[in-house]
Amino acid sequence: SLAVKILLFYVIFYGCLAGIFIGTIQVMLLTVSEFEPKYQDRVAPPGLTQIPQVQKTEISFTASDPKSFEPYVKNLEKFLKDYSADQQTENIVFQDCGDIPTDYKERGPYNDVQGQKQVCKFKREWLENCSGINDPTFGYRDGKPCILVKLNRIIGFKPKAPVNESLPPEVMAKYNPYLIPVHCTAKREDDADKIGTVEYYGMGGYPGFALQYYPYYGKLLQPRYLQPLVAVQFTNLTYDMEVRVECRAYGQNIQYSDKDRFQGRFDIKFDIKSS
């Protein structure tokens, strides 16, 4: 009966502890809003990421071998599914925000008093050669791979367009006061000539993220939010060698860090084999 007593004691003891644990967690959750996190100091400034993401940040394939680039294509296709025109038909949810960059679209407070918030449409056609509409392999079969660039979603974050003086000349050319431009260069200067021509496709032909897509109101208020994309196509990459490319987004409140190599920029390795 001593064993029973002790067993009973531990059942009660751990029962109480579990109750206290769940209770405190519940109380804690009450203090946390469902719509926006209490703190964002760890997630901002935003990261910049690319599609396709298949293991590591490396794209390696043979143009003549469809199997070798199949994972990338599938990944792109899957990602772009939400961007298809037939997914953006409901006008209650989707708002046409035009095709030239304009200012932020504020949609009121971060709660559901007014119900869900609308989101801006993002037309897949804007991505042209990288939209997968005409070329289902996104240029991979021609050895001209596309990648999609996106700025990580952060609730309430309003990226600020860059100040013109600070920009490299190539980016200056894309300057628009309501645009966060994206630009890709060789990671190492030696590789500059190996990258070849780089094409940018974005909203209305602008190579960047338009400000009317911001701020983001969160999963609960904008469950079908489409973050703006920039497609980058490398049309003349040198084959049979590793080429490292770095893409950056430019904005006053977009920063780069030595510790976090995906903050406001990313680098990706191409290795296209000729046979």
């Binding site: 760890r42 999963k219 903050q263």
Partner: protein, 963 residues
């Protein structure tokens, strides 16, 4: 003597005349032992695993490979640093002893090349002729060829405290008994002698005993056994949980490499890295405290051994007694008077009005050859150094205390003739002029063995008047003599005679050879009896031992009657208990008919002991609670110690002589005398009593018991947070949440915030009178028992984990990861390629942002453990009493511990929060308080536990919750 050349030859053959020191372990071996002892093996395994996984990951080209390299290095560093620390501590306590063994190089007066030369004693060889005078140490075993009043003190060898006279005569087959051999390391007390060296170095009698001592194995100390038990327990837990979760993680399809890394984490979390160092520090703090109370501890672990002691075998002379003869009783005017025998007497309270006392005091003063060394006028009388034998010294001091300035009295009563004491006469006599200018008579004074003195007397002084010594008065004398002798005291008789002026005029030529003066028909004045009285602190100390359940056994070379008297006066034999002989005497029946069980006390003679079988000895040790061994040889001491150990007792033995060293070594704790002790005894002992006082042993016992209790608290405190460190790993493996705490962070708790608080517990005062309970049973009362482990691991530890997890979930939730999102995310969370990891709100996180959040989680977890450890520290102050009974602020060091703990945590989070390698990040201030309710809960819960323990002693709660 020998020629120098011949001596050099023999020296080359026999080696120097010195004892080979006990073989010392090479320093490097000692150090390496520290590196593999205790938990070190586990940590080495952890380090090796870290390096292996580093190698594998490096080969696979993983970016995080170097984390494991660093972890391995850190683990190795931890082992090496704690090893160095332990080694340093040990070396420090050994060094204390080194100062003891440093002997002043001894010189010997040798005849070489027919010349007297001073040589270092270790250059002596067999055949050398050496000269010795009073005060010298005998430089080797020598056979005497010429002596003049030579007396040697063999106490360090045979335990006999009386100096023994030496001559050239061969008197006994046994070298120890014969008179013409003086032994190495004994001292010549008086006289001079010349002898031939017959044995040197290790071949001397002392050398043989010393090698016997080194043959006696050193037993493991009780605390070493306890710590070993504890290490096994914790290592067992660590290994079984580690292996269990290794299997679980492998069967959950984690990669082997990951599983190995989990294993390292589990080991590191389970091993209290800082604990053994803490234990060492606590022990050395106690050792320091004991040193202040005159117990110098040679071996740190012996600190606790003294606390678990259940039998003390104590010497009499010097330890229980003051080691000096003192006048204890007087008999004059047909009445016995008691004298004050305390250490610092300044007056004597007995009635000194009788004229008989005046006469007696005159004899005591004049018939005495002892003198104070000059230049000691400012010292208390009892502390002054005297030239003379023990009895005369006692009488001199006694007279000085009562009469003042004895030397002046002697000068006024000029001595005209003297016969010193010798063993045939058994009396001492001197003749003096009187200090009364009108009285031209000479005064003859005499003292000696009472019956011999009485024989020479025809009258006896009663109240200052001479009365004839009739049979009635002689009877009274006999009774007094027997009574004083029965108290174990050495009795001296005193008589005098005023020589008639007409027969012995001023110019009378006294001749001591022809004895041309009367030596009979004297006037008997009185008796004085002397004893080596017990130290005044001893009776109290003995009664403390008694209430502490410690049996005190007296082992002495002295006479049984004296031994018994001292034993009675200090309480080793209590007032009401009787020996078999006492019962026989009381009932007036033969000794054989007495029921031995009725006698609680026993006085065992060494001669009886010699003929006893082991069973008989065991029976005596078992059946009698109060035992005195008298007339024992030091060799028998070893037998007695072994007998006590057969009873399962932890035995402390005191000793001072060289031949005590085997017993000192054999004992669980050997205690050598600092003043009277020989170097060999000090070397063999674990502890040295600086003041040779038995009472110091008792304070040592108290400290030893306290440290045992406090180590329990320290260990309980330290073990608790191991669960809070372990749970994160287990939940991480099972629920695949982001890692709640890092391995490095764990090390910062174990070796950072927790160290000072756990040492602070060593300063905790005892909860109740620890000297009122029995010594711990070394088989049952473990340092770390099941209750302690269960309560720390399964109750407080789990509560801490809950508190820390609440903080962890709070930090993540407030940053965007609600608890439900965290479950099962591990693989993606840790994937370097995923830089748009979605949280509960749809935000996307890069890998580094996640990692940084993870470190914030580590810091929050760390802070929560620290905060709850403050509560843990406070509750560990007591095991049974309420904290409020104990006093929250009485132990100031605890507060130092608490502030240091929080201070270190603040520095780590805010000061070093930007050093990437340490995995700390600055933390929002409010997170410091998330665990506070849990800390309070721990405190309240523990108060309730203690309340129930106090309320319901013996209940299942008491049995399972009291550690």
């Amino acid at each position: 003597g020998l020629s120098s050349a011949r001596a050099a030859e023999i020296l080359a053959r026999d080696g120097p005349n010195s004892l080979t020191p006990p073989k010392a372990t090479p320093e490097i071996v000692k150090f390496l032992k520290q590196l593999v002892g205790g938990f070190s093996i586990l940590l080495w395994i952890g380090a090796v695993f870290s390096w292996i996984s580093f190698g594998i990951q490096l080969a696979q080209g993983a970016e995080s490979a170097f984390d494991n390299l660093y972890l391995g290095v850190v683990l190795a560093l931890v082992v090496i640093l704690t090893g160095i620390f332990a080694y340093y501590q040990e070396a420090k306590s050994t060094n204390i002893m080194a100062s003891f063994s440093k002997m002043i190089p001894q010189q010997a007066l040798v005849i070489r090349d027919a010349e007297k030369k001073e040589l270092p004693a270790d250059q002596l060889v067999v055949g050398d002729v050496v000269e010795i005078k009073g005060g010298d140490r005998i430089p080797a075993d020598i056979r005497l060829i010429f002596t003049q009043g030579c007396k040697v003190d063999n106490s360090s060898l045979t335990g006999e405290s009386e100096p023994q006279s030496r001559s050239c005569d061969f008197t006994h087959e046994n070298p120890l008994e014969t008179r013409n051999i003086a032994f190495y390391s004994t001292t010549c007390v008086e006289g001079t002698a010349t002898g031939i060296v017959i044995n040197t170095g290790d071949r001397t009698i002392i050398g043989r005993i010393a090698s016997l001592a080194s043959g006696v194995g050193n037993e493991k100390t009780p605390i070493a056994i306890e710590i070993e038990h504890f290490v096994y327990l914790v290592a067992g837990v660590a290994i079984s949980i580690g292996v269990l979760f290794f299997i679980i993680s492998v069967s959950m399809r984690y990669k082997i490499l990951d599983s190995i890394i989990f294993l390292i984490g589990i080991i590191v979390a389970n091993v209290p890295e800082g604990l053994l160092a803490t234990v060492t520090v606590s022990l050395s703090l106690t050792a320091k405290r004991m040193a202040k109370k005159n117990c110098l501890v040679k071996n740190l672990e012996a600190v606790e051994t003294l606390g678990s002691t259940s039998i003390i075998c104590s010497d009499k002379t010097g330890t229980l007694t003051q080691n000096r003869m003192t006048v204890a009783h007087l008999w004059f005017d047909n009445q016995i008077y008691s004298a004050d025998t305390s250490e610092d007497q300044t007056t004597q309270p007995f009635d000194q009005s009788s004229p008989s006392w005046t006469a007696l005091s005159k004899i005591v003063t004049l018939c005495n050859r002892a003198e104070f060394r000059p230049g000691q006028e400012n010292l208390p009388i009892m502390k002054r150094v005297v030239v003379g034998d023990a009895s005369e010294t006692a009488l001199l001091k006694f007279a000085e205390v009562i009469l003042g300035d004895v030397m002046n009295i002697r000068a006024r009563n000029k001595k005209v003739a003297e016969i010193p004491f010798n063993s045939t006469n058994k009396f001492q006599l001197s003749i003096h002029e009187t200090d009364d200018p009108n009285d031209k008579r000479f005064l003859l004074v005499m003292k000696g063995a009472p019956e011999r003195i009485l024989e020479r007397c025809s009258t006896i002084m009663i109240n200052g008047k001479e009365e004839p010594l009739d049979s009635e008065k002689a009877e009274a004398f006999q009774t007094a003599y027997m009574e004083l002798g029965g108290m174990g005291e050495r009795v001296l008789g005193f008589c005098h005679l005023y020589l008639p002026e007409n027969e012995f005029p001023d110019t009378y030529p006294f001749d001591t050879d022809s004895m041309n003066f009367p030596t009979s028909n004297l006037c008997f004045v009185g008796l004085l009896s002397m004893i080596d009285p017990p130290r005044s602190t001893v009776p109290d100390a003995v009664s403390k031992c008694r209430s502490a359940g410690i049996k005190v056994i007296m082992v002495t070379g002295d006479h049984p009657i004296t031994a018994k008297a001292i034993a009675k006066s200090v309480g080793i034999i209590s007032a009401t208990s009787e020996t078999v002989e006492d019962i026989a005497k009381r009932l007036n029946i033969p000794v054989e008919q007495v029921n031995r069980r009725e006698a609680t006390a026993a006085v065992v003679n060494g001669m009886e002991l010699k003929d006893m079988s082991l069973q008989q000895l065991d029976e005596i040790l078992c059946n009698h609670s109060e035992i005195v061994f008298a007339r024992t040889s030091p060799q028998q001491k070893l037998i007695i110690v072994e007998g006590c150990q057969r009873q399962g007792a932890v035995v402390a033995v005191t000793g001072d002589g060289v031949n005590d060293s085997p017993a000192l070594k054999k004992a669980d704790i050997g205690i050598a005398m600092g003043i009277a002790g020989s170097d060999a005894a000090k070397n063999a002992a674990d502890m040295v009593l600086l003041d040779d006082n038995f009472a110091s042993i008792v304070t040592g016992v108290e400290e030893g018991r306290l440290i045992f209790d406090n180590l329990k608290k320290t260990i309980a405190y330290t073990l608790t947070k191991n669960i809070a460190e372990l749970c994160p790993f287990l939940i991480y493996i099972i629920a695949s949440i982001p890692m709640p705490i890092g391995t490095i962070t764990i090390l910062f708790i174990d070796l950072g915030t927790d160290i000072i608080p756990s040492v602070a517990l060593a300063y905790e005062k005892a909860e109740s009178d620890i000297m009122n309970r029995r010594p711990r049973n070394k088989r049952k009362d473990r340092l770390v028992n099941e209750q302690l482990a269960v309560y720390s691991y399964l109750q407080i530890g789990i509560m801490q984990s809950v508190g820390a997890f609440v903080t962890y979930f709070t930090v993540y939730a407030e940053q965007g990861f609600l608890p439900s999102t965290l479950l099962g995310v591990r693989v993606d969370w840790e994937n370097n390629a995923i830089n748009d990891f979605e949280d509960s709100y749809g935000q996307e996180w890069t890998k580094y942002q996640r990692t940084y959040l993870q470190w914030t989680g580590y810091t929050a977890f760390f802070v929560s453990i620290t905060i709850q450890q403050v509560a843990d520290l406070i509750i560990r102050k007591t095991r049974r009493n309420s904290i409020f009974q104990q006093g929250l602020f009485r132990n100031k060091v605890i507060w130092v511990g608490i502030f240091s703990q929080i201070g270190i945590a603040l520095i780590l989070t805010y000061g070093l929060g930007h050093v990437t390698a340490l995995n700390f990040t600055p933390l929002r201030f409010q997170y410091w308080f998330v665990a506070v309710p849990f800390a309070i809960l721990i405190w309240v819960y523990d108060e309730v536990r203690k309340l129930f323990i106090r309320r319901y002693p013996g209940s299942w709660w008491d049995k399972n919750m009291y550690y």
